[in-house]
Symmetry: C2
Subunit: 123 residues, 2 copies
């Protein structure tokens, strides 16, 4: 009969690991803040609606209604996603009367976006 798992048994604390290799990687490991910002950046791009919005804005400055029309969705949905992109400083906006025009605010993100596009288009 198998013994019940001891807590921490799964943690590889004292078992045979390549301590040297692990230590070497640990030294070079990026700080927690960098990891967090990096994964957050990728996460924002990890949604088809936001991908479409970013692609659209990389081509033209557009108002919320334009984007909603383009994607075949509601202004509400677009507005919610634009808020996320705004919080991440990926888009900026400009008010003109009752219209709000959005455009990309981050040249870096276009490089990242294009690199991703190149990745999936070479398959």
């Amino acid at each position: 009969m198998k013994l019940r798992s001891v807590k921490g048994n799964d943690l590889c604390e004292v078992t045979s690991i390549n301590t040297e290799r692990v230590a070497s990687v640990r030294r070079r490991m990026k700080p927690e803040g960098t990891i967090h910002r990096l994964s957050e950046t990728f996460k924002v791009l990890g949604d088809p609606t936001r991908v479409k919005i970013i692609f659209a804005l990389s081509q033209e400055e557009l108002c919320v209604c334009d984007i909603a029309n383009l994607l075949g969705t509601t202004k509400s949905t677009v507005s919610h996603q634009l808020r996320i992109l705004r919080n991440m400083r990926l888009v900026k906006y400009r008010k003109e009367g009752k219209m709000v025009y959005y455009s990309l605010d981050d040249r870096h993100i276009e490089n990242l976006f294009d690199e991703g596009l190149r990745h999936v288009e070479e398959m």
Copy 2:
């Protein structure tokens, strides 16, 4: 008193939009499959645990136990995430006795990863 919202009222079907600009973007819009694969690719990178794993494997070939030790988490957690990376063809593995050594399987993903790293480190 405000009238109840009519269904589709939010869809911008007949309202004043920049039809020309929208049509131009629509022509250039990437196909649905490309959008989907692109957002899926970014989504995989949108988790701190997977980011750490990918960074680690970009430095060294490592077994599951090494990675778990490095991240201070369990083999189970690492194994679950490695399965996702395996399904996306981002990592490959090599068995040696009861050990399983993982390494990156996609040169493109390193470019994408580095581009993201450059993005967050210039802030």
